[in-house]
Symmetry: D3
Subunit: 248 residues, 6 copies
Amino acid sequence: MKLRIINPNTTHGMTQTIGEAAQRVAAPGTHIVATQPDAGPVSIESHFDEAISAVGVAEEIIKGERDATDAYVIACFGDPGLLAARELTRAPVVGIAEAAFHMATLISTRFSIVTTLGRTGIIAEHLLEQYGFSQHCRRVRAAEIPVLDLEENSDAALERIIAECQRARDEDNIGAIVLGCGGMADLTETISREVGLPVLEGVTAGVKLAEALVGLGLGTSKVGDLAFPRPKRFTGQFEHLSDWQPKR
Amino acid sequence: MKLRIINPNTTHGMTQTIGEAAQRVAAPGTHIVATQPDAGPVSIESHFDEAISAVGVAEEIIKGERDATDAYVIACFGDPGLLAARELTRAPVVGIAEAAFHMATLISTRFSIVTTLGRTGIIAEHLLEQYGFSQHCRRVRAAEIPVLDLEENSDAALERIIAECQRARDEDNIGAIVLGCGGMADLTETISREVGLPVLEGVTAGVKLAEALVGLGLGTSKVGDLAFPRPKRFTGQFEHLSDWQPKR
Amino acid sequence: MKLRIINPNTTHGMTQTIGEAAQRVAAPGTHIVATQPDAGPVSIESHFDEAISAVGVAEEIIKGERDATDAYVIACFGDPGLLAARELTRAPVVGIAEAAFHMATLISTRFSIVTTLGRTGIIAEHLLEQYGFSQHCRRVRAAEIPVLDLEENSDAALERIIAECQRARDEDNIGAIVLGCGGMADLTETISREVGLPVLEGVTAGVKLAEALVGLGLGTSKVGDLAFPRPKRFTGQFEHLSDWQPKR
Amino acid sequence: MKLRIINPNTTHGMTQTIGEAAQRVAAPGTHIVATQPDAGPVSIESHFDEAISAVGVAEEIIKGERDATDAYVIACFGDPGLLAARELTRAPVVGIAEAAFHMATLISTRFSIVTTLGRTGIIAEHLLEQYGFSQHCRRVRAAEIPVLDLEENSDAALERIIAECQRARDEDNIGAIVLGCGGMADLTETISREVGLPVLEGVTAGVKLAEALVGLGLGTSKVGDLAFPRPKRFTGQFEHLSDWQPKR
Amino acid sequence: MKLRIINPNTTHGMTQTIGEAAQRVAAPGTHIVATQPDAGPVSIESHFDEAISAVGVAEEIIKGERDATDAYVIACFGDPGLLAARELTRAPVVGIAEAAFHMATLISTRFSIVTTLGRTGIIAEHLLEQYGFSQHCRRVRAAEIPVLDLEENSDAALERIIAECQRARDEDNIGAIVLGCGGMADLTETISREVGLPVLEGVTAGVKLAEALVGLGLGTSKVGDLAFPRPKRFTGQFEHLSDWQPKR
Amino acid sequence: MKLRIINPNTTHGMTQTIGEAAQRVAAPGTHIVATQPDAGPVSIESHFDEAISAVGVAEEIIKGERDATDAYVIACFGDPGLLAARELTRAPVVGIAEAAFHMATLISTRFSIVTTLGRTGIIAEHLLEQYGFSQHCRRVRAAEIPVLDLEENSDAALERIIAECQRARDEDNIGAIVLGCGGMADLTETISREVGLPVLEGVTAGVKLAEALVGLGLGTSKVGDLAFPRPKRFTGQFEHLSDWQPKR
């Protein structure tokens, strides 16, 4: 199967980190294609960054559909453009926030999230509400590091994340920790060792969930609100979307 | 005060309908500027249409900031890009779905929604959950008419909407009906007369809420998760956003 | 329009404070009538005080109906008698707790409440639940000052409220603060300046929401559970209510 | 023990019905005092009726305190004035709506309510939310009979209630039915026999819960928000309440 | 009436403690039969202990049915096997966790739980969710004492429980405390005196609720999901259950 | 990896059906061991059946631990003994109800459940609440067929299930259907073809989720409430459990 993992920001180093993390857990028959949009923010740290990045996510799905893709993973913890992406394909699409939440509830009864900046915590809260996991998550915590520090200043970033995870372990009455950023995809083992709790993140979880769905012959339902969008005209810089036709 | 009402789709006729409805309820000192994005879908009937339209909404906020705007209304029932828009300005930003919900709870204890297509009902459901109004809304109903039929086929559309509103009145145990589309902004009076219930919609409600916030000296909080986005580089077709500076 | 703002307690000084705060934000065409019941508690600090005050609120609505009132605001943070008041009139009726909550969610994603006495916190909690705002409110805090201290001991009271607001800002991860008492209607600007966050209260918010509803031609739904009460006999000191007839 | 059961309306016949129903289930040592306010509505069918009746409920508690009362039951399905009543005494106070809900969840996993008028359904919905029983109640139904028809037109009323209970049994997937009016206190056996389901109501349930609390040595907590109200001045027709002193 | 109170663990001393506590509050006509399973864990401190103990609970119900039992109480704070037990009898069955929760909400608006080991807190959380009391419980606390220390090391245990209850009183903004273990049935008075708050536990509460249900003529609904189990074959060590016939 | 799939009932034919369904979707390296308890009910159709079956589930985990098992699936739609099972092992344990719910939310926004007997619907409702999926599930439906009819009367059973699924598709506004019984594990393809919607069930979903967890190196958290049970004495027929030692 061909799995397209989409880094919604445009920082190539992060796409690589994500791609490598995905590769590490991929099943033998899974071919990982790690991509990023042609246009968009270099990191996603606000509702605004997210809104812009959702366009790139959709474009990457459209490219993926021309490339016989079997499943998609959206590799930003806000799951930007997730439902839009699902409309564009029969293949399964998994967001890394939801992936991490699902997996966390299978190995623990309560978890906490450790994310980058405090201001993005609300995005996680809204997702927890929409997905139904609010009562499973004890607390959304932030290490207060900008996303790109994970690339450019990784030792200091790691230290802060570990410190926050230790506080979560000691104060939150939890069984597991979810790391709240696609850029933390390579850190779970190190942190889990330091903290003594299972530590999850969504890139790897998303890959395995996507494989699981494909293995079950399941794809996005085309009945109801995730059906292909009705064809229509788009104007201006989005005019090319008018011609888009779903792969039936 | 200058109020910018943004029709997130690119159908000029709908922008006009919305602008006129806004004008009808505007206070004497309110100057209505009805706009639409330069680029995007001609109607919004899916998560995908919404995701694309959010870019145009953000661009219209940015334009508005250069134009000394005092308040914004986002005139599509999915409130696309609402939180992103709030990040970009100190002025208040009101979505028409939330506006209608708030007002409906002030005049009734339970309401139903009548929207265009059934597939967009889930968008309303998610908003009700996020805003906290799920228990106030008895049912999300659809007249099953495409959005542009409101422009191009308005008599037939009106008939179907009225019929659905009558079913809501007879079956749902409600005190009011919320119309679930910006394109229905001119229909409340007619429908209310036919159905015998208060009928609300969000364009007019949004204008009055925006005026109310300005009258209170309140604008979007710049503390916490609605603070201005951190400046950063955008690439490709979004590169111009790298230069964006908030109006302090 | 004639807006009757009802202070549910019988302390004239507080009625004046409330009336002046209302006047300050009223639109040019809004005529504010600030009233208080003929009978009832001098302050409202318990469920019991609230229950008694609801009678006076209802009486003030009945008086207002004879006085061609266009809208009502109930100016106590527990919204005493709100649904009863709505039954008695076609005009809109807005409670100041709900008014503040609605407005707070339009400018922030999460807020805290700072009220007078801790024992009234439960009233706010119940309202948050009923209105649907529980998840938007991080915490209900109390400055532990009796209500009348706002009148009689205002400097010390202000100091304690500011201190509690600062704790809310520092500990609660919020974008705005709601002041939980009608008697705090004149304090928002001072506190907001001290604390550096938007600070809302319901008297002014209620006036603007009432104006907004009137501007939209919306009044309390007379279909369903807010219809005029069925005429019936009242005995004893409430006998005069037997003769009451709604203004059709 | 002396148990004061308060019919919040002023219809003597209904007070008798309630008193007799209470007597039928009272334990040997329980002395039932069935009372009604000196003033108030002859039936309770609206938020307004409820608000007025709450004063009478409070007055009856105050009388009861002078009469060495060990426990109170408030015998109207809206539980009017319940929290206010609790503030006024160390004795337990039980509302009949809550009593019926508690008992219903002990013998079934899901129940429906059959009340008098549809317009009072919202009162039951709000109570279910506040008490935490929303998910246990499948549906709030109304037989659409005025409360006093239970006294004056009892055969026709009974027929309609039975018919509605049968619909509940056949359509709602429930294990029990809660009758939603104090005036139905004598109907459970007849209806249960006709419908073939356990049928509960709150007058009898309230008596047994009050006895249970007294048997456990438990009374209303005087720590926190149910502590005695702070002493204060009341004006006008409520002036006599200024002198009120709790029985310590 | 004959009330069978089932200690789900197999420690005889605890059965005695429970039986004596039950006896102390039982009404004159109530005959208490305190039992324990023939087989199972000596204490219940995990999901696993609970699962095993549920078999013993069911066996005790079956024995009780042969013994003309009028009501049952399951005396472990996790309410193990409660719904299974209800299926096996027409008599009412009350769990001590639910009993304590119900009673706590009748005398306070918010309570906290103090249980034995932190690891059992999740069981209480799940019950609060299922029963609908999550919003009424501020916090689930643990004194971190093994259950059998209540028997074998009772002074030290009591000290720790009191200390935790004092923290609850000082930090949780509550009106009452629920003790979260059947083995604490004899401690409420001592702790209440030390802490100055009403302190409840479920053994005594369960007895009084069971008496109340019997007094109302109410038993477990045999319509719907609590009907007698369909007769079927059981294999192996459970083969004897194949022959089981409900007492009609 | 060695995956032990436990049919909690003792009907060998159903264990085979389940094992074959598991085998069909298993990854190349997955060795499926399909087992059933030595003792217990031949089908699970009540809370009572479930309680008894949980013992067998636990025993099967204990056997699995001696057999170097890498992951477990509990193949009954009530997820009997799930949390107990998790306590007994470091390996991941997945219930088929949760598995189906998780997968359903990844391919649709709303789903319905079609189960066997109406009386087991409440079990699904309780699980939806505990897991957080209540808002995702539109309706729990029953085909009203006894579980063993799936084995012994499979054509008639299939017909009824298909009919109920068609009603779900036509009435429930959903994107997918979850089959609510382990015995339906071989029916998804047939039904999906007939009904035109994605149809999921939990045996296959559970296998893929278990593989996913193992692929991620994740197992049940041994920190907090899923830690190994404290060692203790069991009496009677459960005495052998006293000797149990976790595989560290």
